[in-house]
Amino acid sequence: MSLTFKDGARACVPTLLGYIGIGIAAGVVGKASNLSVLEVTLMSIIIYAGASQFIITGLMMVATPITAVIFTVFLVNSRHFLMSMATAPAFRRFSLINNIGIGSLLTDESFAVAMNAIANKAPITPPWMHGLNVTAYVAWILSCLVGALIGEWLPNPAQFGLDYALVAMFIGLLYLQLIGDKTKSIRNRIIAMLTVTVMLIFLLRFVSSEMAILFSTFAGCFMGIIVERKA
């Protein structure tokens, strides 16, 4: 008996709280950053990526040029490429349309659940994967919408510190990234982060904020691979 859509949906349940929490936060943050409920909801439907949605919101607040935002998002999402690279072989023998569907809704969490199932030799199928992905997708969209509505009912968001939600989210995402990424030594990560910080403060005097963010990120990545090579 092969795994069904329903089994996939059930496999998604343990991760749902994560989507709901971050989705509501993304909605509140978006609203506090002057996006409309429609914009927040469209973002969750079309972009469907937590970190990217926060970063876009942050960049839009400083009126970053459109091409710079899109390029930044492209860089941030490079890890999706790596996750899809790791997932794709498991579905190679199924139809193209199934594969595109699976790839389109792949997230950090559904990737993790699927990889875990594969490691445990579960015979996963496209319907199972769709069940896992679609459940998460629906939960995400609804959470962002609810978050945006909550944000709309608050009259003066700054009074409640809502403008700080974005900064707090960056702190949280950075910390989780820092403890979650086991592929680099702590020393290399700290060197990369210090490079970014120094470059950013220096560049902020001479170029716009968004350019400083982009260039200092590049500098940090370069420094990361340089210290890796030397080690």
């Binding site: 899109i70 190679r92 193209l96 200092s216």
Partner: protein
């Protein structure tokens, strides 16, 4: 909704979608050079550092940036909650609460 946000949402949607599906189209062992993979693996940590640090400053053209004090102060308890809970929801709630308290009592 402005054209600005619509174009950003659509453009970002495309560049998010393509890296998700292209590997499924090219499953036949396309191998990125190792150095590119390593470079990309630093992107999340670096960009989040840049976004965080940039938020701690008030930027003026032609001058070195000055600290945004209330944001810097609120960062301390937020980081502590991050370390203690490792939970995004709590981190955001802690950050906002600290900011609200700072605005109410200090500034």
């Amino acid at each position: 909704m402005s054209t600005y946000s619509l174009l950003i949402i659509l453009g970002s949607g495309i560049v998010t979608w393509l890296p998700r599906i292209i590997p499924f189209l090219l499953v036949r062992k396309l191998q990125l050079p190792d150095v590119v993979i390593r470079f990309l693996s630093y992107v999340p940590i670096c960009i989040l550092t840049a976004l965080f640090v940039q938020n701690l400053f008030i930027v003026k053209q032609g001058e070195f940036p000055s600290f945004n004090l209330e944001y810097c102060i609120a960062a301390v308890p937020t980081i502590i909650v991050a370390i203690l809970t490792r939970n995004l929801m709590w981190i955001v709630i802690a950050g906002m609460s600290c900011m609200a308290l700072i605005r109410y009592f200090i500034i």
